[in-house]
Structures are given as structure tokens and as C-alpha cells.
């Protein structure tokens, strides 16, 4: 694991964080639920809590789907390529590429090659929002790349160790972190690796 330069993190008096969604996206409760689950994974291993609120402006973390140039100097690039980005604490900006084919739930085996599991990317970006940089541990959530049609949502030991170095452990939580799972169906993965030359 790694941290951003200067190790920014949410200050001690801000442990109960709020999040909200860009109102113009008009997200369904089902989609919002994906983010709720993603936040819960980090809350389980830290003293942090995350609560959804209505006010986008007042929220600590602001989540939105945007396509192309969306005003932060980091334009998205269409299908695949860059999927999302999030800023280090205490910025709270969390942007996802609106051109991707985001999948909310279910089996990805029959999905088109462009399908990206929304929760997998959400868990990764929340790591950035909390202060983690990228990791070279391939099983970790904070590894920078993800293969399409792949679901990877469980925090690895590397992720948990990193975030607990910033915030400590959840005083009410399970001391042993969950194992990390990546679930590309083998047949799908083979096809994908064939197209991409293997990785």
C-alpha cells in the first residue's frame, strides 16, 4: 500500500463522513445501494462511518458520473481507458466515467467486453478518498487496473493494513480482515486475455 504525498487523511474531528450523489445523475436506489455497500467495506475496518445525505453541496464526499471534460482538468476518455478518479482527503470529489457500461449486480460471464462492475471501482476510489494511493499487490483493492467483467470488492490484507495505519481499526470490528477475492469466470477471462494479449 501507499499514501498520497504528505499522507493527507480526514482529520480526527471528522470521523463521521457524509456522502451525496450529483442530483443531475438521477441515480436509482439500487445504484446508490452499490456505493452504500462499498463504503461499508471500509467502515468495517476503520473507526469511520459513512452516511448518505441529500445535500450534494454540504456532503463531505460528492459522487457523480461525468463524460469527457467535466471541469476538473482530468477529462474522461470514453469507453474503457480511465474508469474513474477520486481526490485525496479532504477533497471528497469522486468522479466516474459516464461513458462506461457500469453493471450494478449479477453474473458478468455473459457480459460484453466493456462491462465494468460498479462496486469494484467504487471500493477502489473510496480508498483514494480516505487517503490510500495505489498498491503493487495485485490482489489488493488499491491495485490500479481492473479487467472488465471482473468483480473484486473484498479488501485485502494490504488494503486493511494501509487504511488502519491512517485511522486505526474499527473498535467494534472484526480484527481479522477479509480475504480478497477476484472472480473473473475462467472462460471469460481467457477470451479477455486473448484479446488483450494476456495480463
Amino acid at each position: 500500500y501507499s499514501f498520497f504525498p504528505g499522507r493527507p487523511r480526514w482529520p480526527d474531528h471528522r470521523r463521521d463522513l457524509t456522502y451525496a450523489f450529483a442530483p443531475e445523475n438521477g441515480l436509482t436506489d439500487e445504484v446508490k445501494g452499490v456505493f452504500t455497500r462499498a463504503f461499508a467495506r471500509w467502515a468495517a475496518v476503520t473507526p469511520l462511518t459513512f452516511t448518505a445525505v441529500e445535500s450534494f453541496r454540504a456532503a463531505d464526499i460528492r459522487i457523480g458520473f461525468y463524460a469527457g471534460d467535466h471541469g476538473d482538468g482530468e477529462p474522461f476518455d470514453g469507453v474503457l481507458g480511465t474508469l474513474a478518479h477520486a481526490f485525496s482527503p479532504p477533497s471528497g470529489h469522486f468522479h466516474l466515467d459516464g461513458d462506461e457500461s457500469w453493471v450494478v449486480t449479477g453474473d458478468l460471464r455473459s457480459a460484453p467486453v466493456t462491462a465494468i462492475d460498479l462496486e469494484s471501482v467504487a471500493v477502489h476510489e473510496i480508498g483514494h478518498l480516505l487517503g490510500l494511493g495505489h498498491s503493487s499487490v495485485e490482489e489488493s483493492i488499491m491495485f490500479p487496473t481492473i479487467t472488465s467483467r471482473t468483480r473484486k470488492v473484498d479488501l485485502a490484507v494490504d488494503d486493511v493494513t494501509g487504511i488502519q495505519e491512517l485511522y486505526g481499526a474499527n473498535p467494534n470490528g472484526n480484527p481479522s480482515p477479509p480475504s480478497s477475492t477476484t472472480t473473473p469466470p475462467s472462460s471469460v477471462q481467457e477470451r479477455d486475455m486473448s484479446r488483450k494479449g494476456g495480463a
Binding site: Y1, S2, F3, F4, P5, R7, L27, E30, V31, F65, E74, F76, D77, V79, L80, G81, T82, L83, A84, H85, G98, D99, E100, S101, W102, V103, V104, T105, G106, D107, L108, R109, S110, P112, V113, T114, A115, I116, L118, H124, E125, H128, G133, H134, S135, S136, V137, E138, P144, T145, I146, T147, R149, D158, T161, E165, K196, G197, G198, A199
Partner: protein, 128 residues
Amino acid sequence: HIFPNASSIPSWLNRTKYAWDQFQNLKGCRPGDHLNGLSNLKTYLNKFGYIPNSPSNFSDLFDNVLQSALLTYQKNFNLNATGFLDDQTLAQIQLPRCGIADIINGASSMNSGSPVAHNATRFHSVSH
């Protein structure tokens, strides 16, 4: 585009051209080569922190700067440190990814080393 499940993705969204497919043309490229598209790869590596300075336009020459950037990239992604565009490296570069740089102000880190990297990560880099 947000879909409740994979089967609801319409076929017209399964496009044939993706953001970084262009890099496939660079397969096997080595130091000293001059190939159209290398400048785009340098822009990619600059975006993610592997080439620190951003000139107004990058050349299509496989120069020392590109080689050094590739070596660092390969270390970070646990690939063989060949310093050229082998199959594994190209495949990794083309994968969809997070837009946050891997190296920020030359200080952030993965395997390539950093004062804030965890010991285990640095140890991992030694093994490569």
C-alpha cells in the same frame, strides 16, 4: 450508462474501439525505434506519473526517458523489467484503470520505491 445487470447492456454499446487499443500497434518496440504512436504512449506514462515532465509535445522516438519510464512501470506492476514493449507490458497498459497517477510529484509509490511505501511492498520490489 448504468445497467442493473450485464444482460441489459445493449449490443450497440459493445464497441470495437477502446481508449487504449491504439497501443497494440507498438508491440515489440525497443529503444532507438521511431514509431508513430510512441508519443501517445509517452503522454499516457506522463499522465500516470512515469514521465515527470510534460513537454508541449512528445516525440515518437523510443528514447531513454521512455525506457526508464517503462522500467519503473514494469516494477510497479510486477512485470519482467525488460525496458521495452513486450506483450505483458502492453497488455497491462491497455487494461482499464483508475485515473489517479501511480507516482505523484515523484514521491508516491508502488514497487518503484518511496519513503511512504510499506516495508513489505519494498521487500516485494527487491525480489524482482
